[in-house]
């Protein structure tokens, strides 16, 4: 068989290449469910929302199926409306104050839990409770606690003669403060969990070496804990910003964005436009602005994460 020796190898190579292609096809098949899920549940809504932002999409559109293209008109009217600037400022204040409060208290608690004391584990898991409650449940409970006439907080303040029944949820000067306080309460567990695990990563020996070098207490925090926690801190802050920017259910449950839009943020305003005023196009435009802002922080987060992974 003279041909066998020359044909054999090339046939084998071709067969091997074929089987490799087949294998790769099967591998990609396994990705299909995940890809389909992302496309249907993430891709479609995002694209639809972006398109809606350029359309005059109202209740009528649901019946007629027609939503005329209006270009940037939705964005123009959303941005030029007087509520936008106050909602933007509220969003910034809400985000910065919430993050600052959550982070500082969360870090303090995480540091405290590094010490060994009885029931440490139990208390640490209890602290996660606010995180486990549905936001709408939390806001219902806090609405009750913060009630002007019958709320527990005002009763206590009254007993201590500290204040005369402030209207936490009904006064324009206090409604955003109340929302921030409740959001801090909700955000603490997340901060504690991540920061505590970050602290656990720092070897005890470094603190012992620190003790011999003269770094204890605040000095140890300044020179050992803080520099080694920096990557974790960046991640916590970035994720915190992304989560806080989109907080909506909590504010809706507490104040509904009121009184007189005093606790209205971009997220709640987007909800109002879409589902109270049924201006779906404008609501979508508002939501897209929010997504764009979040995206900046999300990219920052990815960048920092990559950097932290490298170092």
């Amino acid at each position: 068989m003279p041909g066998f020796g020359t044909n054999g190898p090339s046939v084998a190579v071709a067969r091997r290449a074929g089987s490799r292609r087949r294998e790769r096809f099967i591998q990609q098949l396994f990705l299909l469910p995940a890809v389909a899920y992302i496309l249907i549940f993430f891709g479609y809504p995002v694209v639809k929302n972006v398109v809606m932002g350029f359309q005059n999409y109202s209740m009528k559109s649901f019946f007629t199926g027609k939503a005329p293209w209006v270009g940037l008109q939705n964005y123009e009217s959303v941005v030029s409306s007087p509520i936008f600037s106050s909602a933007l400022i509220n969003t910034i204040v809400f985000t910065i104050c919430s993050i600052a409060g959550q982070f500082v208290i969360g870090l303090a608690i995480a540091l405290y839990f590094r010490k060994r004391f009885p029931l440490n584990d139990l208390l640490r898991s209890l602290i996660l409770l606010p995180w486990l409650l549905p936001l709408i449940v939390s806001s219902a409970i806090w609405r009750w606690l913060l009630d002007q006439d019958n709320g527990a907080l005002n009763r206590i303040l009254e007993l201590l003669l500290l204040a005369d029944r402030p209207g936490w949820l009904t006064t324009t000067s206090l409604s955003l403060v109340a929302c921030i306080l409740v959001n801090i309460w909700i955000g603490i567990p997340f901060n504690v969990a991540i920061l505590y695990s970050g602290l656990q990563e720092i070897p005890e020996e470094l603190y012992e070496a620190g003790q011999l070098d003269g770094a204890t207490g605040w000095t140890a925090f300044r020179w050992i804990t803080w520099p080694l926690m920096r990557p974790v801190v960046s991640v916590v802050l970035m994720l915190g910003v992304i989560y806080t920017l989109k907080v909506m259910d909590l504010i809706l449950g507490l104040t509904g964005g009121g009184p007189a839009n005093s606790s209205q943020t971009l997220a709640t305003q987007s909800y109002h436009l879409s589902f109270v005023q049924f201006q779906f196009g404008q609501g979508a435009a508002m939501a897209n602005i929010l997504v764009a802002i979040s995206l900046i922080f999300a990219l920052l987060y990815l960048y920092i994460n990559k950097f932290a992974g490298k170092s």
């Binding site: 070496a209 003790q211 003269g214």
Partner: protein, 349 residues
């Protein structure tokens, strides 16, 4: 530099008595090695000297001053940790000068000290690197540099070589010893490795179950161990112990084999241990019969593992021998180098 005195020191963890009435005197400039198996309390004792553990009772003195209530940084000591404990976010130079920086030593002085220590340890080219960019041996050197820079009264080493590979360990062992010769600083060194202890120490403290089993110069411990534990712990391969009883100048193993007692004929009793180091067994035409099970030629010597009666025995012969597993050889114990231990583990001869 200073002497260190440990007086009646005890350590309790709750009800557990971890260290029991420890008394050790360390002379100025001595290199003392605390050695013992895991859990014997050697690291705890070191950490108590460093101030990382409380002293339950008793006193520790450095240079004549009781330091029980001083903070670690006030004790004028420097410690090298098992995992080096270098600050990962600082460069080598920053790691080495950290203590001086916190003590507000002026920068020129700090730099001078770091440069000097780096020169001693051959770290000059690594000063700008971070610990993650260094090899194990280099990290070890930086940890030592950090200690040297502080110019302390006492160096403490906590199993500093246990994370290095065998070859590097031998090299670093010599370097630490050389460093001690050069600086002359009182050094307390903890290890579980008896070879490290033997090769490095001026004096060895053997610890067992939270107590000091014996203190002495390396060869004194080797030649005259006062307890069976010390005899078995010091020396490699370890001393052979054959159980049996002695009566009227004869030692009979539990298998009924007679072993010579030589000058120790006066020893009598039941449940005794007949201790003989592997290198103190000679090959002979007559003598105690030994069944060979394994032969290990190391080049420098030939180790022969086997049994006398039913009891395991190791011999180390200087010669290269053609002995096969399964053979029966005859061995003669060097009668001047016997160690006889009683039932309670104390030396009888």
């Amino acid at each position: 530099m200073a002497n260190v005195a440990i007086r009646s020191v005890n350590k309790y963890y709750g009800a557990f008595h971890a260290l029991k009435e420890i008394n050790i005197d360390i002379a100025d400039g001595d290199f003392v090695v605390l050695v013992g198996p895991s859990g014997c309390g050697k690291s705890t004792l070191l950490r108590m000297i460093a101030g990382l553990e409380d002293i339950s009772s008793g006193e520790v003195e450095i240079g004549g001053q009781v330091i029980n209530d001083l903070l670690p940084q006030e004790r004028d000591i420097a410690m090298v940790f098992q995992n080096y404990a270098l600050y990962p976010h600082m460069t080598v130079a920053e790691n080495m000068s950290f203590a001086l920086r916190l003590a507000r030593v002026p920068k020129p002085e700090r730099d001078a000290k770091v440069t000097r220590a780096a020169a001693i340890l051959g770290l000059e080219n690594l000063l700008d690197r971070r610990p993650a960019q260094l090899s194990g041996g280099q990290r070890q050197r930086v940890a030592m540099g950090r200690a040297i820079v502080r110019d302390p009264q006492v160096f403490l080493f906590d199993e500093p070589l246990s994370n290095l590979d065998a070859k590097l360990r031998v090299q670093m062992r010599a370097e630490i010893k050389e460093l001690h010769e050069r600086l002359g600083t009182t050094t307390i060194y903890v290890t579980h490795d008896q070879i490290e202890a033997m090769t490095m120490a001026d004096r060895i403290v053997v610890m067992q179950n939270g107590e000091v089993a014996q203190v002495g110069a390396p060869l004194d411990l080797y030649d005259l161990p006062r307890k069976k534990f010390v005899a078995g712990f010091i020396g490699s391969p370890a001393m052979n112990f054959l159980s049996g009883h002695a009566k009227a100048g004869h030692f009979l193993t539990s298998d009924g084999i007679e072993l010579p007692l030589g000058p120790n004929a006066a020893v009598e009793g039941d449940d005794l241990s007949y201790g003989i180091r592997p290198e103190h067994l000679r090959l002979g035409d007559s003598g105690v019969p030994m069944h060979v099970t394994v032969v290990e030629p190391t080049g420098a010597e030939t180790q022969v593992l086997g049994r006398i009666g039913e009891q395991p025995v190791v011999c180390a012969f200087r010669e290269r021998l053609d002995i096969r597993p399964g053979a029966v050889i005859h061995v003669l114990p060097d009668e001047d180098k016997l160690h006889i231990f009683g039932k309670d583990g104390h030396r009888l001869n």
